[in-house]
Symmetry: C2
Subunit: 353 residues, 2 copies
């Protein structure tokens, strides 16, 4: 008997490494491993969802007619400059599918959010990686500007960057936009609220700029999958052509509409997370643990050859942090949630270190 | 001043027609235009969601560790033969991204669900369309078998088909699978529950078979975006490599887990919809309106050159049906919901016709 035929996946897919972030067993633990809001979303979101969920409502395909203008007004753009997406992941995917053909040149930075490489690989792109500067993990602006060519089709940047926490300023973003006018330049601002630097107003000026935001981090809605992608309306029209008309679930859209009405909740959480980050910074420094300078709700600390050991020891105490030593020597990423949570993790670290 | 540069989208994207199904103003109307469950999802889904939604729960990235084995058991497959997807749309997208390279040959039927062509176009595929047989809209099995070549990389079929309502039997499905052992053959069973024909058990036998199911139709959860894609585990491993690890929102996953526990609700709704379909069939026949033979929860009727006029006249009475005359001469698609709803639409049709 001959072995049965099996359809061969594309070469690009065969060559990809599987991406499997930890995705179970996190409930009940102190979750400082995914840079989520560690307290939860605004209670107003819950109230709103509870009041709107009903049998009839769930049976209808999503309609974004109410949420879209509401979000556009909140972000100070017009509705046709905004694409709702199924989390930031879909924003990256739609952008790549719109602009990247097989073997097109795409720039990403290393280390950065894994999904830039992921979707660029799925598209069969020629991926060029620019490393963040050693140890400081500062944004390698000159190196990137020098490497960009007239053939560059996309530049995918997270600002502030994950997992480094480091940021690039707006002057730097403008230099990239000026250097690559023919490329789609994505500035993924998943952690914007913690640093206050945004390229969003620049979309009017730069037809090659794309900015993404998410409701998965400060808004505490990671379970819902809700993101936004902004660009000039002529670009958004093309992005729309590459997106399923119903990819954002309706409860996520409703939740976002409720979430943006509770700006106080968000700014309170930002203040708390920044205070927690300062506690973490001081506490780690006191233990002699060096860190990258963070503009986000997490800190990348250098734990030398004890990175995995520390991660595991904390897990034994029901505290989850993220080992990144496979891409940053000695690197462990710790989410800044509340000051109380920061004290808790520092207390355990003191025992371990 | 020179016009600013704007990044050019891919040629495949420029060439695509935008897909814009009606997506607003449906609330408050009798919605017989999208083949949804016209009554709503099971009340148990609502109860379950209301009890599970809380601030903390929404802030965590989705974990499918509980829902996946539950769904696998329900569908009588193992967990590694199942991929959760953000509606059937993502199932099609992931399959296409896994197997279809630029210029690869993909077979679809015409008319069928628009997203097969959509994602194949995004992938830059060479799309071959086989028309359903004229008027009867019977599945063109011999024509498809004859057209498939050793270069065919995918065959995307909806069974029963939307918008024709017609189905292919399992013997026919097997002939396609045998004819195209090197291709990924998708049988999209979005309307399975209304006809009872399924290729799902064949995945054990055929390594080239992919079956999709959805919670958007009979389960009444279209707002939530929840689908499943089944195949042999070696294929599912490749599919996983092309999918974001969090593309299904957690509330949809929870809702699905609750929905499959209320099988009585689903079978009651199927019985009601089939009774409504029979009323529609008789009622339309009485008015002299010819129809394709339907195996799903809708009927495709032939309204000649009055198709759009009829659609508009019904809309004036707050009844939504779907004009398909742009692809099937005179075709209007009417969802079968409850018998009461069928009587309502027939009553209005009698006045118009």
């Amino acid at each position: 008997m001959v072995a049965p035929l099996r359809p061969d996946p594309r070469k690009a897919v065969r060559d990809m490494a599987p991406y499997s972030p930890p995705s179970s067993g996190r409930a009940g633990k102190l979750r400082l491993d995914f840079n989520e809001n560690t307290v939860g979303c605004s209670p107003r979101v819950i109230e709103f969802l509870r009041s709107r969920i009903c049998e009839q409502q769930l049976s209808i395909y999503p309609e974004y007619t109410s949420v879209k203008p509401a979000l556009a007004a909140f972000f100070k753009v017009s509705s046709d400059e905004l694409l709702l997406t199924n989390g930031t992941d879909e924003a990256i995917q739609v952008l790549v599918n719109t602009y990247i053909d097989d073997r097109d040149e795409v720039f990403i930075l290393r280390p950065s959010y894994a999904m830039y490489r992921f979707y660029a690989e799925v598209a069969g792109a020629k991926i060029e990686e620019i490393p963040y500067r050693p140890h400081t993990l500062a944004f390698p602006l000159e190196e990137l500007l020098e490497a960009i060519t007239p053939q560059t089709r996309a530049v995918l940047i997270s600002n502030p960057n994950n997992p480094t926490g480091t940021a690039i300023d707006i002057a730097g973003v403008k230099r990239i936009l000026d250097r690559a006018p023919q490329a789609a330049v994505l500035i993924d601002e998943a952690y914007y609220e913690f640093c206050g630097i945004t390229a969003l107003p620049l979309i009017r000026e730069y037809p090659n700029l794309f900015v993404s935001r998410t409701f998965s981090k400060v808004y505490g809605m990671a379970a819902m999958r809700m993101g936004c992608l902004f660009s000039q309306s002529a670009n958004v029209e093309y992005l729309h052509k590459c997106q399923s008309p119903y990819s954002v679930n309706m409860l996520a859209a409703l939740a976002a509409e409720a979430a943006i009405q509770d700006t106080e909740y968000v700014s309170n959480y930002v203040n708390e997370a920044l205070a927690a980050r300062e506690l973490l910074r001081e506490g780690l420094a006191k233990l002699g643990i060096d860190q990258a300078s963070s503009s986000a709700n997490f800190i990348l600390g250098y734990f030398g050859d004890r990175a995995i050991e520390v991660r595991d020891a904390l897990r034994d105490q029901a505290i989850l942090v993220r080992d990144r030593s496979y891409e940053i020597p000695g690197g462990v990423r710790i989410t800044a949630g509340t000051r109380e949570q920061a004290r808790r993790v520092l207390e355990e670290l003191e025992k371990i270190w």
